[in-house]
């Protein structure tokens, strides 16, 4: 068979799909110009309980259940993933915190550890993974690239921080962070979850939704 025939039969991708992809990336870029909510706002928040004793003690049980079985989704675009693998392996042993299971399906996960540089071409997919995760969900920005784009920040094709795309809860600095640093970040996230109020404050869930709608551009 001539090579020319193979070229003719070769299935090329759709120009319509390419245009839709370009439009999605441009829309995400436009949305990322909005101001980013302060990630440390929850530290100063006052505890406001509606029915303090019964519901607050129920919340303690809820939060204990949530923080002790965080299941991360597989979303590791670059090299920080190896530090996560090291943290997950026998020496550092993340299963001490009930999170040794990595979920391939975002619908079964509640934590996204964004390990690595993200390009604008891959940004819509990461955004989709985040949207497919079931509430309640948390995000850890791992490494310099995850926080701010790192050394690639000024590039034409790199997202300057995951917080442009998804709301981030904990930032773990380093290039890459050591597994100890990642575990410290996870412990901080445990602390944040343990302060969450599901039943005892009706506002707690609403703020989260507000933050999410700001990023997705919906009211």
């Amino acid at each position: 068979m001539e090579i020319g025939d193979i070229t003719q039969r070769y299935i090329y991708s759709d120009a319509e799909l390419d245009r839709a992809e370009g439009e999605a990336i441009e829309a995400l870029k436009a949305l990322s110009q909005q101001p980013i909510p302060d990630p440390d706002k929850w530290l100063e928040e006052k505890q406001r309980y509606v029915f303090p004793y019964i519901l607050a003690s129920l919340d303690i049980i809820f939060n204990w259940a949530r923080r002790c079985s965080l299941w991360p989704v597989i979303c590791f675009p670059a090299c920080c993933a190896f530090e996560f693998i090291a943290a997950n392996a026998s020496r550092f042993d993340l299963s001490r915190f009930g999170m040794e299971i990595l979920r391939a399906s975002p619908r079964q996960a509640d934590l996204m550890i964004t390990a690595g540089t993200l390009t604008w071409k891959a940004a819509p997919q990461v955004r989709r993974i985040y949207e497919q995760m079931a509430e309640p969900k948390w995000v850890i920005a791992m490494g310099a690239c995850g926080i701010s784009g790192g050394i690639f920040r000024s590039s034409y094709n790199v997202v300057p921080g995951y917080n442009r795309i998804v709301p981030v809860d904990v930032y773990v600095p380093g290039c890459p962070p050591r597994p100890e640093a990642l575990i410290y970040g996870i412990r901080m996230l445990h602390y944040k979850i343990s302060r969450g109020r599901t039943l005892s404050s009706p506002l707690a869930g609403g703020e989260r939704l507000e933050e999410a709608s700001l990023l997705s551009g919906k009211d």
Binding site: I3, G4, T7, Q8, G22, E23, K121, Y156
Partner: protein, 146 residues
């Protein structure tokens, strides 16, 4: 170990068949006219004593005054290799003939050069951006891209 052929020797053989094609030849590479690159590549592939059946890579370099497209060819049968080069001086609309019909592996690399360097490959069946998205402005590997 693959033997790299002398560009001077190969240039003599090319000139026998395509008298006008070669501009310059050295021990390392052969520089040919951009409009005759497909004919030269076809000759290099079909000639039994050269038989360059494998294209290692295509790449492009921005030298400010001109773009240089570099082809590294290898013959699996004779175990020798050659560097083939061509230049295009038009900065606004540089065009080089495509070699996808000869080597299928040139497909994605020519698209990458089109994407990042802005060189159009004439006769390419699917010339569009590959690494960046549709609607991206400019060609980032050019020296004048900011």
């Amino acid at each position: 170990m693959t033997v790299s052929l002398s560009g001077n020797e190969v240039a003599k053989q090319i000139t026998k068949h395509l008298s006008e094609a070669v501009i310059k030849a050295s021990g390392e590479a052969v520089l040919v006219k951009s409009e005759s690159i497909f004919d030269v590549a076809e000759y290099l592939k079909s000639s039994p004593e050269l038989d360059f059946d494998y294209l290692n890579y295509i790449t492009a370099v921005d030298y400010y005054d001109y773009f240089e497209v570099v082809y590294q060819l290898t013959s699996m049968k004779h175990n020798h290799s050659l560097v083939l080069k061509t230049r295009c001086y038009d900065r606004d609309n540089p065009v080089v003939p495509s070699v996808v019909k000869l080597w299928q592996g040139a497909d994605f690399q020519e698209r990458e050069i089109y994407d990042l360097m802005g060189i159009s490959f004439e006769g390419h069946p699917n010339l569009k951006r590959i690494l960046l998205w549709e609607g991206f402005e400019g060609h980032p590997l050019r020296k004048d891209y900011l």
